[in-house]
């Protein structure tokens, strides 16, 4: 699914990713952990094709990043910090706009289905402007999976969400996992990471410093494992 070799990304004078290697198999759900500024979001942005790597080899869906970007983009969904939504548009209009760019078939049906799935059927035609953070994030996740991607990239999806929104978000990830979707999730929320993910990688100073399966699905176990590695640095 994803194969990264010696990935380097520099932003200005700062070297953010330093010869990072990573391999992800089909259908895995991976938590990307690490201290602030370690390069987690940058890694996600490179995989989402938003950032161009400075050097290194990145293969996604078996396609080289330098080869055919749009082929990769068709099969990748990305949910960053920002919602990427247009404020004056309703959820339906937002989904229809992005769906059109992805060339989704039966767009209206698919959009309405997704909006119902994230529990916003009642607000389908209201402008996003007045929505709470939780509601916006639910529309944003629907946007990210509008085209049924094979790979889903989530950047701290649980931040600032209430219990209900967390539940809905986890449901969406869980359902798509059943369908075989690969998920990469950058997070500081160990509880959600432990419940949703099968594997965790820790990124420190621009490289993968640890990579292990989540054997015990509890917050404490994961936190211990994390502190062992990262220790005082945070």
């Amino acid at each position: 699914m994803i194969k990264i070799q010696k990935l380097v990304k520099k932003m200005g004078n700062k070297m953010i990713l330093r010869n990072l290697d990573l391999e992800v198999k089909n259908g895995e759900t991976i938590a990307v952990l690490g201290p602030n500024g370690a390069g987690k979001s940058t890694l996600l942005k490179v995989i989402a094709t938003l950032y161009k790597p400075t050097s290194g080899k990145v293969m996604i869906h078996g396609i080289d990043l330098n080869e055919n970007l749009n082929k990769i983009r068709e099969k990748t969904g990305y949910l960053p910090h920002a919602s990427l939504l247009y404020e004056h548009f309703s959820p339906l209009e937002n989904l229809e706009f992005f769906g059109k760019l992805y060339g989704v078939k039966d767009l209206e049906k698919r959009s309405k289905e997704l909006i119902k799935q994230v529990g916003l059927a009642f607000f389908m035609n209201e402008p996003v402007k007045g929505f709470s953070r939780g509601m916006i994030q639910r529309v944003a996740i629907a946007r990210a999976i509008i085209h049924n991607p094979l790979l889903l990239l989530l950047d701290e999806p649980h931040t600032g969400l209430d219990q209900k929104a967390v539940g809905i978000l986890n449901d969406v990830v869980e359902t798509n996992k059943q369908k075989g979707m690969t998920t990469l999730m950058v997070t500081h929320d160990f509880k959600q990471a432990a419940t949703l993910c099968d594997r965790a990688i820790i990124i420190q100073r621009g490289i993968v410093s640890d990579d292990f399966p989540i054997e015990v699905r509890t917050e404490e176990w994961l936190l211990n494992k994390y502190n062992e590695k990262v220790g005082g640095e945070n």
Binding site: K10, M11, G12, N13, K14, M15, E233
Partner: protein, 245 residues
Amino acid sequence: MSFFKNEEELGLNLNTRTTLVNHIVYGIAFAMILVSAYLIFIYSNIEKTMGAVQKIFYVHVGTAWNALLAFGVVFVCSILYLATKKRIYDVYATVAAEIGVVFIIIVMLTGPIWARSAWNVWWSWEPKLTSALILFFIYIAYTMIRFMDGSWDKKARLCAVFGIIGFIDVPIVYFASEWWGSKFHPTVVGQEGGGLEGNMVFALVFTVFAFSFFLTALIHKGVRIEKARIELQHMKDKIAEKIGR
């Protein structure tokens, strides 16, 4: 030394020591400027109608051509930067644009002084002047992009794009203003204020070349300063990384 190695990958050799080449370039430029001063003030004839004021013409034309040459360097380096993403081309473009702006300011200052004595007006919407003015504004805009906030690679990209567009615009501006001037303006202006005598032409051509060498020396110096600045920044970053965190 991982940072330095990586900089080399980006095509930036941070060796800033003075080499023999530096001395030769500076030496030639210095000598040529001296000789051209001699040619301008002593060797060439004093123009009959305008008198000594005409001598500013040599500096005016010399800087004008080389301002254009500097922006040509910006143009070429911009294309090379976008094609290779090597920082060295951005450094050259930065320096060449800065010097080009200084040169074009000299052009805009000397032009009216000459025009006043040749045409009896400070300013005329003559094609060359109009184009020079627009050129001046284009590279002021270029400099404004340089002053943006953000990382060097973002600025390098945007500047390169604008550097290309700006330079392509110049001949079109010239063509348009020439056409415009000829159709809608009374010709107040005689060409060049009369013919030049032989030794004047020689002085003029020599001055243009002298300024070209001067430009080269300035770019050379500017690039070294810019490299030193980058190296200093790297050292600061490394120290910050060691003690900071």
